[in-house]
């Protein structure tokens, strides 16, 4: 896995940008309505930078893409995306060969980074509530020897459940936190963005991996 990262980013861009308006609408309800623009501009910047990342280590590809996203579309989501990519990348630093089994370590490092940066807890109605169960499900499937495709499927399913669960939550942090009880009833926009991204990653995995094989892609 070297330029696979780039392929995944391309797929994320292709599949998530068309859903930007859904994100804008959700963010307009309990935030400030910019998340659709953020994801669009951020992913455009990632894609624009991919060419010169070709063939470089995964850690660099992740970190540089994260920073490109935030520079073009800095925001809560942007800086969290950058943090996740930088910390995730750091987990496989200097490694030439990154395989599916490293995805778990990347995910955990990213989670830790997000919690350091945003100081939110699970249940605060943020993207953590979508990402944490996804990473956990992936780890579990991976540890149980499932294929990348199966582990990804489990992660996306858990992410969906986690994202849906944010609807009933009351936000306790950041912008939506100011709404208090009025934040209940709306699916968290950041969680939804994470879900869309993981769904896109899954599309890529399904198109590029063997149904049953574990290990390399």
């Amino acid at each position: 896995m070297t330029d696979e990262v780039l392929g995944i980013f391309k797929t994320i861009s292709e599949e998530v940008v068309p859903q930007a308006d859904t994100l804008r609408e959700l963010d307009a309800k309990i935030g400030d309505g910019d998340l659709g623009i953020t994801v669009t501009r951020g992913m455009e910047a990632v894609i624009a930078g991919l060419k010169e990342l070709e063939g470089t280590p995964v850690s660099n590809q992740l970190a540089r893409s994260g920073m490109a996203f935030n520079r073009a579309a800095a925001s809560t989501f942007g800086v969290l995306f950058a943090t996740a990519m930088m910390r995730g990348g750091a987990a496989v630093k200097d490694r030439e060969d990154v395989g599916a089994s490293d995805v778990a370590a990347i995910g955990q490092a990213a989670m830790k980074g997000l919690m350091d940066r945003g100081k939110a807890k699970i249940g605060d109605k943020t993207l953590l509530d979508a990402l944490a169960p996804a990473i956990e499900a992936f780890d579990k499937a991976n540890a149980a020897g499932k294929s990348l495709r199966e582990a990804t499927g489990a992660a996306v399913a858990a992410c969906e459940t986690g994202t849906t669960a944010t609807i009933e939550m009351q936000s306790r942090v950041s912008r939506a936190g100011w709404m208090g009880e009025r934040s209940i009833g709306v699916q968290d926009p950041g969680a939804t963005a994470v879900l869309f991204m993981l769904q896109a990653a899954q599309s890529w995995v399904n198109a590029n991996s063997e149904p049953q094989t574990n290990g390399g892609l």
Partner: protein, 338 residues
């Protein structure tokens, strides 16, 4: 996609705004090399003086770029409309304004900004620049008094720029500038009311709407909801409700001196601000609070949003002398010094 906006490509609004500001005031501001969104005083870094960096989303002019100037902030970067600038831009500003005396980050308490400024300060520390942070959190409606650290910043940060800027200009050290910035920010309480939403150009449609004849009491400057939505009240009632929430919150007491800022969120006309101030000054007079100085105009906007806010800063002798010190920026609604 019809918006009542005079723009070109919606995705170029931010860059073309910055370019226009630079074209208009080339003697006053300069660009940090390599960044389209980071501007600093033409004479920065100012030898021996603490630098003050601020920043936030575009769409709030004269906030933030308008507060860069003599006796005010030293540098600034802006993000996309209503979105934070990036940690990298902030780092660039920090490096460009640091004269060795350290840098104060002074900005509003929004998660995108705090997370990016935090990341920038971590990076600045790695380059041996000392950074301290003060957050504007003056909006009394955004969280109860006990959870003040969750409150968002609105127009009240203007007092922070003026006071911290004057302290830095005096040549105080970073600890002292930081301390007085904290005092200014802590002594300031604000509340706003919105009569309409606003449209982010790149989104093309209003993120928030307030029906005609309605108002949102306590709405934030990006349209964040406030305490309640209800029928549009009269100016006198609005001034009364704002002061009823602002005054007990610090509290402001009889005998206090204060600076008062009546701010338009954009579309609300100066006439309406003076009508609000007319009532506010009567209420303050009745409560024995002495207005040292009034600021009335556009100080922190949300593009074409209709609405207004009132901010009050309690003053002691130190704050009065810093508030009255000279300051200059060609973008400001009213010069902040005498």
């Amino acid at each position: 996609m019809a918006m009542r906006k005079i723009i070109n490509d919606p995705s170029l609004v931010e860059d073309q705004t910055v370019a226009g500001i630079l074209a208009a005031f080339p003697d006053h501001l300069k660009r940090v090399e390599g960044s389209t969104r980071a501007l600093i005083r033409a004479d920065a870094p100012v030898a021996g003086k603490v630098g003050i960096a601020t920043g936030g989303g575009s769409g709030h002019l004269p906030l933030f770029l308008g507060y860069v100037g003599q006796g005010l902030a030293t540098g600034c970067c802006v993000g996309n409309v209503f979105s934070s600038p990036s940690a990298e831009d902030m780092l660039d500003v920090t490096k460009a304004i640091d004269s060795g005396a350290g840098v104060l980050y002074l900005y509003g308490n929004y998660s995108g900004d705090t997370m990016n400024f935090d990341m920038a300060s971590e990076m600045a520390e790695m380059e041996d620049i000392i950074v301290k942070t003060t957050l504007g959190r003056d909006d009394v409606t955004s969280a109860p008094n006990e959870e003040m650290e969750r409150r968002r910043g609105v127009a009240g940060i203007v007092f922070g720029f003026k006071i911290a800027g004057a302290a830095a200009e005096e040549g105080r050290d970073l600890d002292s500038v930081h301390a007085v910035a904290e005092k200014a920010v802590f002594n300031t309480r604000s509340m706003g009311v919105a009569l309409s939403g606003t449209t982010i150009p790149a989104a093309g449609q209003p993120g928030f709407e307030v029906a005609e004849g309605q108002m949102e009491l306590g709405m934030g400057i990006h349209g964040e909801p406030g305490v309640e939505i209800g029928p549009l009240l009269t100016a006198d009632e609005i001034a009364g409700q704002m002061l009823d929430r602002i005054l007990p919150d610090l509290p402001f007491s009889s005998g206090d001196a204060a600076a008062v800022l009546v701010n338009s969120l954009g579309a609300t006309a100066p006439e309406e601000l003076y009508i609000l101030y007319n009532k506010a000054s009567q209420i303050l007079g009745d409560r024995g609070i002495k207005v040292h100085r009034a600021f009335i105009g556009e100080y922190a906007t949300s593009m074409e949003m209709s609405g207004a806010s009132i901010s009050i800063c309690k003053l002691d002798d130190e704050l009065i002398s810093l508030l009255d010190a000279p300051a200059y920026s060609p973008l400001l609604s009213q010069q902040l010094g005498r």
